[in-house]
Subunit: 662 residues, 2 copies
């Protein structure tokens, strides 16, 4: 088991490259901006356990107090800071991490308990509402922060109190007498405990995660042989119809993927971030026990079923998931409208980060380029769009089309601020997503999932193996590789992902009988010994693609390599309807234009691509009309820019990814 949050340390991004520049913005701008936000909003000092005026606010998302996630906001920032401090020491960030850790240590109860809300606002009520409150979710992020802190600072200053907290949790939760037979409404601690287990090898960390996963959704849980969320709701004296804002009806436990046990779930449902974090932990469990084990055989089929249902029927072209705002999650199969005014589109940034996490874990379970394709798709689109070029503004919801009620725009922070620090930490350990490897004695296998300019340094016994890739990805599909070993010779094997979007590819020099398996090109030790430098070329061309017709979206998308494009009003001053009535000619000639402002990117000009405006005058005052009558006229150029770049260059917030085709 290898976690990108640990393995990333072996990766160095080439200065000036696409991701190096994004990470540099995060390191130099975002961390400081977010630190300022933590301070301004009260989060920074919250572990001092003093009253904050906002604690008295009525919840925006009933019944969750607005500050309920503050622990995790701080934890994710610490995690991101620790990752990025490795690139470059920053005294201000370092001092803030140290101060926060000190506050966290001091906030811990003598018995190990550690939570802001239940220490300050509702003392005595700990663990009484696992369904709605984010107590264990926060604990999970504290564990992940402690692991990152431990890697960077190389001491137990944060890990030690967190381990004490985990001891309390392990004693508290389980199926033994006197234990709480419950599990968190928002999964996160499961995957954190499994990561912790890798470091501690303490079986109680594994077993607690396994209990949370296996008990989830049990209709006959605990001594009472009832669903735990019913038991605890009754204990709280809650009325059945006192509905959390995200429950469309009483007992909507599918919101938390707890309507039935995980292995009985056949479609992906509910809150999309929760679903991804949960399945990531399930994939970890499968990997830890191994796919062929009883645990593996129990859970792997469910992972396949839910993944396939999600990708085929509930995922947007950007990699975004979740159409339904009310529960921040999945709708019925193929229900994927582009925006609020068409029935909904949510595609939360954190959810796409979750897809990346799950895809990466699935790649470890079974090497298949499909998972890496989706990981790359999310990274360049649904995730990257979540942060502005200057690193100081963010999105939470990532619709494919703006509307008057939901403009395409970013915000410097959110009341529920899960997404901004999640992007920060993800970019922090991004190197861990590029490749995975396994070392065995004097041999090493490296699977290259993603292409960018970066070097992987691996210690293999007494040797250092370096794999370097150099490319202008995602604008150019040529990747120059160099492999090098210092010290005694090492058997290196490489597997290069052939992207699913590539209509052709080429290797120079070309191996004889190249072996491709599940979308990876296998390069043998022998071949690499003779070819320490080589080039993979995956030509990038503008493509016009369409969603499954069952989505009822009569639109086409423009993509190029891994990048999904959109149109914005800033390039089309004539537009005033969010491109809702713009008819796109999918046969228009698509011209690439390399631009350098505000950043280097390839724009795509569809010459005469706007084939006109949708004419609905036949339907005025009518329910139906005899013919389509969709007058086509007024041909104009359309300028497509990467979706992640939206809302960075001014304009009125009008944007659309999928344009109507006739």
């Amino acid at each position: 088991m290898e976690y990108p949050q640990e393995s990333f340390v072996a990766t160095t991004f080439a200065p000036g490259s696409f991701w190096a520049r994004r990470r540099e913005v995060v390191r130099s701008q975002t961390l400081r901006h977010q630190l300022q936000m933590l301070k301004q909003t009260g989060r920074y000092d919250a572990f001092k356990l003093k009253w904050h005026p906002s604690y008295a606010e009525p919840p925006t998302i009933y019944p969750i107090p607005n500050h309920q996630f503050w622990d995790s906001d701080v934890a994710k920032w610490i995690e991101g800071a620790c990752h990025l401090l490795m690139d470059h020491f920053d005294a201000e960030i370092d001092a803030a991490v140290k101060e926060l850790v000190q506050m966290i240590r001091e906030a811990q109860h003598p018995d190990g308990y550690l939570n802001i809300h239940y220490s300050v606002v509702e003392p005595g009520k700990r663990f009484t509402n696992l369904r709605d409150m984010h107590e264990l979710y926060n604990a999970g992020h504290l564990i992940e922060a402690a692991l990152a802190h431990h890697i960077y600072y190389k001491h137990d200053g944060l890990l030690s109190p967190i381990l004490k907290y985990v001891d309390l949790l392990a004693a508290t939760f389980g199926d033994q007498d006197g234990q709480i037979p419950g599990y968190p409404g928002h999964p996160e601690i499961e995957l954190a405990l499994l990561r912790l287990y890798k470091v501690t090898a303490d079986p109680k960390h594994l077993l607690l995660a396994r209990f949370f996963i296996e008990e989830r959704g049990n209709p006959k849980g605990g001594k009472e042989k009832r669903h735990y969320y019913d038991v605890e709701a009754e204990a709280r004296g809650e009325k059945k119809h006192d509905l959390p804002m995200y429950f469309p009806a009483a007992r909507s436990f599918w919101y938390q993927q707890a309507h039935v046990p995980i292995v009985e779930q056949e479609t992906i449902e509910g809150h999309s971030v929760r679903a991804m974090y949960l399945l990531t932990a399930v994939a970890d469990l499968v990997q830890i026990y191994q796919p062929a084990s009883e645990i593996g055989a129990k859970f792997l089929p469910t992972l396949h079923i839910l993944w396939a249902n999600m990708i085929e029927k509930k995922t947007y072209v950007t990699g975004g998931i979740g159409a339904m705002k009310k529960w921040e999650g999945f709708g019925v199969d193929y229900f994927l409208p582009q925006g609020t005014d068409e029935g909904g589109c949510y595609a939360e940034t954190c959810a796409a980060i979750g897809v990346m996490m799950l895809a990466e874990r699935m790649l470890q379970v079974e090497l298949n380029s499909h998972y890496a394709d989706i990981m790359e798709l999310c990274m360049y689109n649904a995730v990257l769009t979540g942060m502005s070029l200057d690193g100081k503004a963010f999105t939470y919801v990532n619709q494919l089309a703006s509307s008057d009620q939901d403009l395409s725009q970013r915000h410097e922070w959110f009341e529920c601020a899960c997404c901004p620090p999640n992007v920060t930490r993800t970019l922090g350990f991004l190197g861990g997503y590029l490749w995975s490897h396994s070392i065995s004695h004097q041999s090493v296998v490296v699977n290259v999932h993603l292409y960018t300019s970066a070097t992987l340094d691996l210690q293999v016994c007494d040797s250092t193996v370096k794999v370097t890739q150099k490319t202008d990805w995602p604008w150019n599909g040529d990747v120059e590789f160099e492999v090098d070993t210092e010290g005694p010779s090492v058997d290196l094997e490489l597997r290069l992902r052939i992207p699913g979007w590539a209509t052709s590819w080429e290797m120079t020099p070309r191996p004889n009988d190249p072996l491709i398996k599940d979308g990876y090109l296998f390069l043998s030790t022998e071949w690499l010994q003779n070819n320490s430098r080589f080039r993979l070329s995956c030509p990038m061309k503008p493509r016009v693609v369409r969603p499954n017709p069952l989505t009822m979206q009569p639109v086409a998308y423009v993509t190029r390599g891994p990048i999904v494009y959109c149109v914005e009003d800033v390039d089309h001053p004539w537009e005033d309807h969010h491109f809702k009535r713009t008819i796109f000619d999918p046969n228009a000639s698509l011209r690439e234009e390399l631009r350098t402002e505000p950043d280097c990117f390839v724009a795509i000009i569809a010459e005469n691509g706007a084939a006109g405006e949708l004419d609905t005058s036949s339907w005025e005052g009518q329910i139906v009309a005899p013919s389509k009558n969709e007058a086509v006229s007024n041909f104009r150029d359309l300028c497509f820019v990467p979706y992640y770049l939206r809302a960075n260059r001014g304009g009125r917030g009008q944007m659309r990814v999928g344009l109507r085709v006739l």
Copy 2:
């Protein structure tokens, strides 16, 4: 002001004609079947005010007790029975009406109060939950039943206790000291009070309706200067988030069209039946005060705005309204999927009955064939589909496409049984929808809205004016008219609606310079004196029509005259996907076929109309794919039958109205 529930008595349907046969089924079968259902379920005896075991059931639609509507179920049945007894005396029905009336009289409290639930189950809690409970809705239906009873039995046996109840209501509700400044969650009593006012001329009946209408949605109502639903919820000790099942969030008063005062509403929202009943009363108020009055000028613009919003953006091709199951009502503009598996379709039978009511009232406010077109559309499609040919099975929801989870099928009754007796009473007074008239001294104007074989007999001073139409409508567009006066001569003027769907029309003999105004052909007294027999021909041809492209429904519908067609698996044994993947060739040749089984109707055969099956294999495991790749092959005939006829001829419940076109 003329109400179809009163004016229908002047109409006689020609025996054996389309509607005469439907009404005969209702009279001879449906009334008895529904009487049996009332008896079986406990509704019949409920006014005896004894405990019924079902009163202890948990509510299916929280927080509304399942028996909450029983008063209205009985009232609507009485109303329908009184209408239909006029056609043909039926001793069993007559005896049941008499027994029910006696029970109702005995159920009345000494102070006039009359309600099953608040007499038996929650005595002492009357008028404490106007928002959710159907107390005043029930009162409205009792008023309507009393009016029908009064017309048929010509005595006050039911009207008298109801007037006493209305006295209590008029004393209870209003803005005076000690009165309740509230209004019903489910409108109905408003339109009933306005009908009552026409009979009684008692200003307190008019003023109570006006208070309910004008106070509705007032954010600063009553002495407390707050929204009344907040005031009463607080008085009930209700928690803000104790959500009725139909509220997506706390204070979703738009569900009841009470989010803002009616005149501030700009889009039609919420529960569709409530919206229609409310606007029908508003149109009545405008008509009673006259459009040019202060009241008329206040409300008429809102009627226009909400009607236009509904018809253009929130109505199905069948005349059905409401896509959203959760609140049985309207979604966002243009959100009109065909079935549950595509995002929703509700189109409740009662709502379409409400559209007919509102359209009829708007025709009185302003004669425009557009309203009659919609009235006719609902009557032949969204309403008529609500009852089986044998009159003993019903639908509540009228989706445009079935799915595995929601088959196209009927039921003999419903726990919430509003629709079946609503169809019964509507067919009872159907004659009132055919035409409207106004008499002034020795002259009369008759507006003919709908065509069928029927005679209108009007007493004009000492003369009898007869207008007879004879036609095979809706299968043949030729209508033979005959006008005749017995007694002193009468100045008769006729206005014949030219249907919006008619691509041409002809009059024989043809008037010189025919005057058409707002879709009505005006026939002058002079012309009629010379032409007492004439023929209007509106050729009916199969048409292929489409929804507004902004609905994102890439489908076409087959219609013919006022009839909307569907396909059913019973005619296409090869179908197993609810026709979801069937591609329709809109250019297929459409052949009419007159059938006589199970009833006379015109089927439409699209020769080679099924151009193949949608092929989505390119999208297997994918989010997007390069091209449409929708293989077209396997041409087969499609047999279209009227939508109202669905689920009458066997089959597996697979049905679709809109077929996909490429």
